[in-house]
């Protein structure tokens, strides 16, 4: 575990160097212990693949050297409690329509891999994915576990407006766009579920550590969906 400043109002705790489940469990364990300890100066925790950033208010830490003092507080908080993974992960099911205009790049992805479109859907829905981190956009989940048979490079010319709920593949990653955004991923489907809704509590459907499964639905089910 390495501590370093991230500017003068955050600490970066580095736990590893690669994207893998053991490092991820360490990340979740750190998040869980720090949330439980809730140091007064801490304002938020931002977990990532192999690190956890702890944002803090130096004026609340006080003293001559707030950074050093706050790191001591974090070390003490992490020394307590076990290295347990934290709360039991949730499994979130995301219904996806992989049909027609909702899946503009599906045929292309299939062709690239010498598969049929339904093979692609089968492979995509067979996977159990892990939310490694949330970032890039509100509610955007970085998912691990895409079958290498589906990995597809980003489009040469990104779209200026990918619809909210679009399910895509970009390189070795798969994920869902939580809001309208420019994007270069290959779009293979769309979910009617709101991945992010600023008026909902919680706003983000997914959180670090969740397991995600995709389930194919028909266009009729997509159109009829309400939450």
């Amino acid at each position: 575990m390495r501590f370093a400043p991230l500017g003068d109002q955050a600490v970066m705790i580095t736990l590893g160097t690669s994207i893998d489940e053991p490092t991820h469990r360490l990340v979740r364990s750190v998040v869980s212990r720090l949330r439980a300890a809730a140091p007064a100066a801490m304002t938020d925790l931002v977990p990532a693949f192999a690190s956890v950033a702890v944002h803090y208010e130096p004026a609340i830490v006080g003293g001559d050297r707030p950074y050093a003092r706050f790191v001591e507080t974090l070390e003490a908080a992490l020394a307590e409690g076990s290295m347990a993974d934290g709360p039991t992960p949730r499994t979130i099911e995301i219904p996806v329509c992989y049909e027609g205009e909702l899946a503009p790049d599906l045929e292309e992805v299939a062709r690239r891999h010498g598969l049929s479109a339904s093979d692609v859907v089968e492979l995509h829905t067979a996977g159990e994915y892990l939310v490694y981190m949330i970032g890039f956009m509100p509610g955007f989940a970085y998912l691990g576990g895409l079958s290498p048979r589906l990995a597809t490079p980003r489009r040469a010319s990104p779209r200026t407006a990918v619809p909210s709920g679009a399910v895509g593949i970009g390189g070795q990653q798969t994920g869902v766009y939580p809001m309208v955004s420019p994007g270069g991923w290959n779009l293979i489907g769309r979910t009617p579920r709101a991945i992010f809704d600023s008026a909902r509590e919680p706003a983000a459907l997914l959180d670090t550590g969740d397991r995600v499964r995709f389930r194919a639905i028909t266009r009729a089910e997509f159109d009829a969906w309400s939450e």
Partner: protein
């Protein structure tokens, strides 16, 4: 004091409702947001007897035209965008009393980029994630998640007793402007079109070539026209790493200096994404973020490296000064029995 209502007669270039942002939802990918120049908003709020965290208007470069439909106490902090009330020029860093029907207009930007209009009672819009800041990309917060348009109307909350007393003392002529003592010289930032910005080392500063490191901490960078609330893109000598590096995405901060491929650094600002995968070659000291926020496209800056300890010392000193200003205003204008 009646709650203020105001009408936007002219939108200006980009005028948005902002407060001090959403610090506790970064883990959900929600940008911190809030005022680009936090000090200017906080100081302007104090000057009208508001809580520092109250929402005001952030106006960039070309200010809005505002009609105060009711009498209002307001103050401008940050840039001097050539403000005039009913044709009379007014100063920044000073509370101003406007009669009902008054018009606030802006002319030529004289110094800086963003001015903050704080109005007694604070702007009232529904909070999102506990904040009234506007996040345009996400379409939420502020007024309907967008910049203000001509025809918009806004209302404010109830004025505090402190606000009432400040307004009364302006009316009685006992305060010609309280900028003189309430904001110490060290609190008024030294905005400049060619700024020296203090920076601490970043996690990946040591990956820069020696030449690049010299260019980063000695060279002059120009603020590109594609700079905005998400980030300031800088033009100057291209910076290179000693060897190509693939980094995992991880958290960034307000003031993180990223180095994308291509070698042109970006200073991440208020509406930055919460995480990033580019090398972090420096971190702007929090105390100097207002200097960056007040640079216009075409302005320039140089980075001056300081230690983390020094950056935090300066930050705590500034917080102490703000506390004193707050206490001074409370003492002089706070609620107490008046004869």
């Amino acid at each position: 004091m009646e709650r203020v209502t105001l009408r936007i007669a002219g939108a200006g270039l980009q005028t948005t409702v902002q407060d001090l942002g959403r610090p506790a939802h970064l883990h959900a990918g929600v940008p911190g947001g809030g005022a680009m120049d936090r000090l200017a908003l906080r100081a302007a709020n104090l000057l009208v007897g508001n809580d520092e965290r109250d929402a005001g208007l952030e106006a960039a470069l070309i200010g809005p035209t505002i009609v105060f439909e009711t009498a209002a106490l307001f103050a401008l902090g940050g840039a001097d965008l050539g403000a005039a009330l009913n044709g009379e020029p007014i100063h920044t860093w000073s509370p101003v009393a406007a009669a009902a029907g008054s018009t606030l207009r802006f002319g030529q930007p004289l110094l800086g980029c963003r001015t903050y209009i704080a109005i007694a009672g604070g702007i009232e819009v529904p909070p999102v994630f506990g904040s009234r800041s506007t996040y345009i990309r996400g379409g939420f917060g502020g007024l309907e998640g967008r910049a203000l348009r001509a025809g918009d109307t806004l209302s404010c909350g109830a004025a505090s007793p402190t606000s009432v007393n400040i307004a009364r003392s302006i009316a009685e002529g006992t305060t010609t402007g309280i900028g003189g003592w309430s904001l110490g010289a060290t609190l008024r930032p030294r905005y400049a079109a060619d700024a020296v910005v203090r920076v601490i080392e970043g996690a990946h500063t040591n990956l820069l070539t020696a030449t690049a490191r010299e260019a980063l901490f000695g060279g002059r960078f120009r603020v590109s026209s594609s700079s905005d609330r998400m980030g300031y893109r800088l033009e100057g000598d291209a910076l290179t790493l000693r060897e190509p590096t693939e980094l995992l995405s991880e958290a960034v901060a307000f003031g993180t200096i990223q180095l994308p491929p291509g070698g042109a650094p970006i200073i991440l600002m208020a509406d930055r994404q919460t995480t990033g995968g580019y090398p972090r070659i420096g971190e702007v000291a929090s105390v100097d973020l207002p200097l960056v926020a007040q640079l216009r496209p075409g302005d320039s800056l140089r980075f001056h490296e300081i230690s983390l300890d020094e950056a935090q010392r300066q930050y705590l000193r500034q917080e102490a000064e703000l506390s004193q200003a707050r206490a001074g205003i409370a003492l002089r204008f706070g609620t107490r029995i008046r004869p």
